[in-house]
């Protein structure tokens, strides 16, 4: 956790502290160093001054000694002899009296008379001669270099009583002198002499190691003469003086030991280091403790959040800072919300939102979970024609009805062990101990008791499929499919209860598929319309067509309209088909209007259910209006049987169609059991004689008579007559003779796709309808 909050805090804290400490250390040590350096410099300056004083004193002393010597009568007398041996010996003798290391005698005009140093060259003599001049002026000693050694040289005149010679005495600057100087100045002293051959001679109070260190860096001498510096040798602050003030050949170097202050400095540094180390350690502890106290709540919160992340329910954090407490509370609320949402989701995924019963998913799972232990009887209930109830009482009321129905389901006797709403109006019941048809029928009686919705009583009919689990086991999918088959059978046969029997799967599989896929097929465009011309045989003109629906199922192939319409009627889906056909037909009409097929009247078939849907006329009116279609272009065809199912409502709905301006035809006339009295009441324009009478009318006189009578009767009621299913030309002639108005059938054309119909129509009407007859 190097990137943790705590570590970062500690690191930042310690870094800042270290920076401050470092700055302090640098500043203090630097200041100490400067201070020490300054002090050393001063000490060395004092040493230098003292050394100069020492040198001057010595010079004075030597001068005095020599002046006493030069005044000695015996010395003068010996000098005055002019004998070189005598002079040399008196120089040596008297020189040793004052401890001189060298002695020379010069004539008053500066010529060398005698010397204890061998091999003096002209430069040396000149130097000595120069010294006599400075002595005349009361000058002090000079440092002269002879034979790779430095001498402090003094000269005195020898007067007898006039100047007869200059006597000079030299005192070598050796280690002993250095020691004496050191004793007085308190600093180490080194004499360095360089002869004309470049050889260096060192006389020093330093130890051997330091001396050799010194000899290795003699080139620093000029630099050291300008400013005192360190490292000559190590651990010394050194300053160089030119001894003779002229050449760079004779030096004295004064070394002030740095050792003591270096030790002080080291002591200071070590003290600071240990103090800093201590402070750092202490601050680390403090920082760790502080950051711990700062970050502990954060860690607690992190742990809290982690537990929440794992879906646990950690105890609330106590004693956390306000901000973190808020954060923790927020997390808790968030978790609670998520849990609630999750509960909702689970509930929604397993329950029907309307009734609160288990849904299909939950039902499947329940059955699945029961597995082998599943026993008893499954019952699937369906509200007959719920869609129409829906249309009649409105969605909101229908929903209320479903809810009330669900509540009632929960209280019927016997109470189901499991209850689910699979979809729409399909309810699944499970009786673990089984149920007989009789008991179930009693239960259904309870359920069919009228429901009071908005002060009106709604009665419902229920169909039920039963499945005995003991006899018909299988996967959940198979079980549901089988009970749906049983229910469908009940619907189709209009029986209250149908129990599933083995072997009915395959038989009803097609129906089940058609019923289940009808709605999707409509949505996916598997349906289309075809159009069969209706020809005015009196004028030999086509002025209308009947729209017929076709279904090309992707797996089952073309399905006969009779088949799927019958199934749709039984399962209450026929209104979907009617609505679709109405829309398609109107769209086609609009298209043909644009293509010039003006005045073409298109007829669509409605079912009995449509005739009890009192909202349908309003819907059709809206559709027409939306397409700006004239109502008289649309014709409605209804079967006699459909009208007869609920004649009162049917007549009322048909009247509304009429009022809209639609044409209405009675289809399949003659097949039903209606009385002519009803026909009289019906608001129709047209009657279509069923093909069964037309088919054999040329050979069957009864049929011919029925047709002729029907035409006459219809005409007498003021309706036009259409003959369906005409296949032969002679039939047309007969019908024309009998006064039939319109003919529809293969004799003119089979039902055609929209494009083909267009071409047929244009051709037929151009040729007067003659040549197109087959």
């Amino acid at each position: 956790m190097l990137n943790s909050y705590r570590i970062r805090l500690v690191v930042a804290f310690v870094l800042v502290l270290m920076l401050v400490q470092l700055a302090t250390a640098v500043f203090v040590l630097d200041a100490a160093h400067r201070q020490q350096m300054l002090q050393q410099q001063r000490t060395l300056d004092v040493g230098i001054n003292v050394f100069r004083e020492v040198l001057a004193n010595r010079s004075l002393q030597l001068n005095n000694s020599l002046s006493v010597l030069s005044a000695d009568f015996g010395f003068k007398r010996a000098i005055a002899t002019g004998e070189s041996d005598t002079i040399l010996s008196v120089l040596e003798n008297h020189g040793s009296r004052i401890g001189a290391d060298a002695a020379v005698l010069l004539s008053p005009d500066g010529k060398l008379i005698s010397s204890s140093i061998a091999g003096l060259d002209k430069a040396d003599i000149d130097a000595l001669s120069e010294l006599t001049d400075s002595m005349n002026d009361g000058g002090a000693a000079r440092i002269l270099s002879f034979d790779n050694a430095s001498y402090q040289f003094v000269m005195q005149p020898v007067k007898a009583p006039t100047l007869i010679a200059w006597v000079g005495m030299g005192f070598v600057m050796d280690r002993q002198v250095a020691q004496q100087a050191k004793a007085i100045t308190g600093v180490e002293v080194s004499f360095i002499n360089k002869d004309s051959d470049g050889r260096f001679a060192l006389q020093s109070t330093l130890d051997a190691t330091s001396q050799s260190a010194l000899l290795s860096q003699l080139n620093r001498l000029p630099e050291l003469s300008r400013e005192a510096a360190e490292g000559f040798p190590a651990h010394y602050l050194s300053y160089a003086l030119e001894l003779d003030g002229k050449s760079a050949d004779q030096w004295v170097v004064l070394h002030l030991s740095n050792l003591k202050w270096e030790q002080n400095y080291e002591h200071l540094r070590n003290s600071m280091l240990s103090i800093f180390a201590g402070t750092l350690a202490l601050s680390l502890l403090v920082a760790a403790w502080l950051s711990g106290s700062l970050t502990r709540p954060v860690h607690t919160l992190v742990e809290f959040a982690r537990l929440i992340g794992q879906g646990q329910n950690p105890p609330p954090i106590k004693g956390a800072p306000a901000e973190l407490a808020v954060l923790a509370d927020t997390l808790t609320v968030m978790r609670d919300n998520i849990e609630a949402r999750e509960r909702d989701l689970i509930y929604q995924s397993t329950h029907d939102s309307l009734t609160g019963l288990a849904n299909r998913f939950a039902a499947k799972r329940t059955l699945q979970d029961a597995g082998d232990s599943l026993s008893g009887t499954l019952v699937l209930l369906d509200l007959k024609h719920f869609r129409h109830i829906n249309d009649m009482i409105g969605f909101a009321n229908a929903d209320s009805l479903l809810v009330m129905f669900a509540r009632r389901l929960e209280t019927i006797t016997p109470v189901p062990d499991f209850l689910a709403r699979l979809d729409g109006d399909a309810f699944l019941l499970l009786y673990n101990n089984g149920i007989t048809e009789t008991v179930l029928s009693d239960a259904i009686d309870q359920l069919e008791a009228p429901f009071s919705i908005q002060d009106s009583n709604i009665s419902i009919k229920i169909r039920a499929g039963m499945l005995s689990l003991a006899e018909h086991g299988g996967t959940v999918g198979v079980l549901l499919q089988r009970i749906e088959i049983a229910l469908m059978q009940a619907c189709l046969s209009d029986t209250r209860i149908v129990a599933y029997r083995t072997g009915e799967d395959e038989k009803y599989q097609r129906e089940l598929t058609i019923i289940n896929q009808l709605e999707r097929g409509l949505e996916q465009g598997q349906f289309h319309l075809v159009f069969q011309p209706k020809v005015d045989i009196q004028n030999n003109l086509c002025n209308g067509a009947e729209a017929l629906i076709r279904w090309d199922h992707p797996e089952l192939g073309p399905i006969r309209p009779d088949e799927f319409i019958m199934l749709a009627e039984h399962t209450g889906n026929i209104d979907l088909i009617s609505q679709w056909v109405l829309r398609q037909a109107m769209d086609q009409l609009v298209l043909w209007q644009h293509e010039g097929l003006v005045g073409l009247k298109l007829a669509v078939n409605l079912s009995a259910h449509d005739l009890v849907n009192e909202s349908l006329p309003g819907q059709i009116a809206e559709m027409l209006e939306a397409r700006e279609l004239a109502p008289d272009l649309l014709a409605i065809e209804v079967t006699e049987g459909a009208v007869m199912k609920d004649p009162m409502t049917a007549v009322s709905v048909l009247q509304k169609f009429r009022n809209l301006g639609l044409s209405i035809a009675i289809d399949d006339f003659g097949t039903g059991h209606s009385s002519l009295a009803y026909l009289k009441m019906l608001p129709v324009n047209e009657v279509k004689i069923d093909r069964s009478f037309i088919k054999d009318m040329l050979t069957n006189t009864h049929d011919a008579m029925i047709v002729e009578t029907s035409i006459a009767l219809t005409h007498s009621l003021g309706f036009s007559v259409t003959a369906e299913g005409v296949e032969e030309r002679q039939t047309i002639d007969v019908l024309r003779q009998q006064g039939c108005d319109l003919v529809q059938g293969y004799v003119y054309s089979r039902p055609l796709a929209a494009r083909d119909f267009y071409h047929w129509y244009v051709e037929f009407n151009q040729q007067g309808g003659v040549s197109s007859l087959t």
């Binding site: 005044a71 009568f73 003068k76 007398r77 007067k159 007898a160 009583p161 007869i164």
Partner: protein, 224 residues
Amino acid sequence: MQKTSSQKNKKAMPKSAGWVLFTLVMMPCFASAIDLRLSIVAPDALAVEDAVVELLPLNADAAVFSGSQKEMSQQDRTFIPFVLTVPKGTRVNFPNLDRTRHHVYSFSEPKPFELKLYVGTPQEPVLFDKPGIVALGCNIHDYMQAFIYVSDSPHARVTDSEGQASFTGLPAGNYRLRVWHPWQNGELLETALTLPAENRVLKYQIDIDRQQKPSAPPAGFGGL
């Protein structure tokens, strides 16, 4: 020091008398015996005292003048006179007029000698028989200093405080003139001179480093 300056003043006293003498010399002389006056000055035009002027006749044989005696006394720890000129062969006495003993010596080449610690006048005078300059000193008083100029010629004089030296009765002829002074810079002046000269007063210039004439410091160690 006070004493020294007072002594100097005392010595300067005969100055006015000297100027009187000088005006006398300017008067005409006899033809056979020539009187000559020489005036020695420094480059600063001041008179040079204690300069030795020697006239060496070129056409006369060098003669030894024996028998004559001169004195170099010591009084107040000072040699008197500071410069003494004697013809070669002259004996010089060194009478000690002080109560302290003196140890007079010379290491000069013409006459090294030594008169060890003595009081009064030494028994024997010292004979200076070689020409040259003899520097005198006292071994126990280093500051005492004097010079004896031993001349070849009998005609040698020391200039007085006016820087003048007078010769009387000089025979006519060619001379070599030498001028020397203890403080002289460079070689001593030597020039040819024919007498009688146009002027009887001749003026010569020499270069000297003027110094204090040696005199005794105040008694006691402080003066050493």
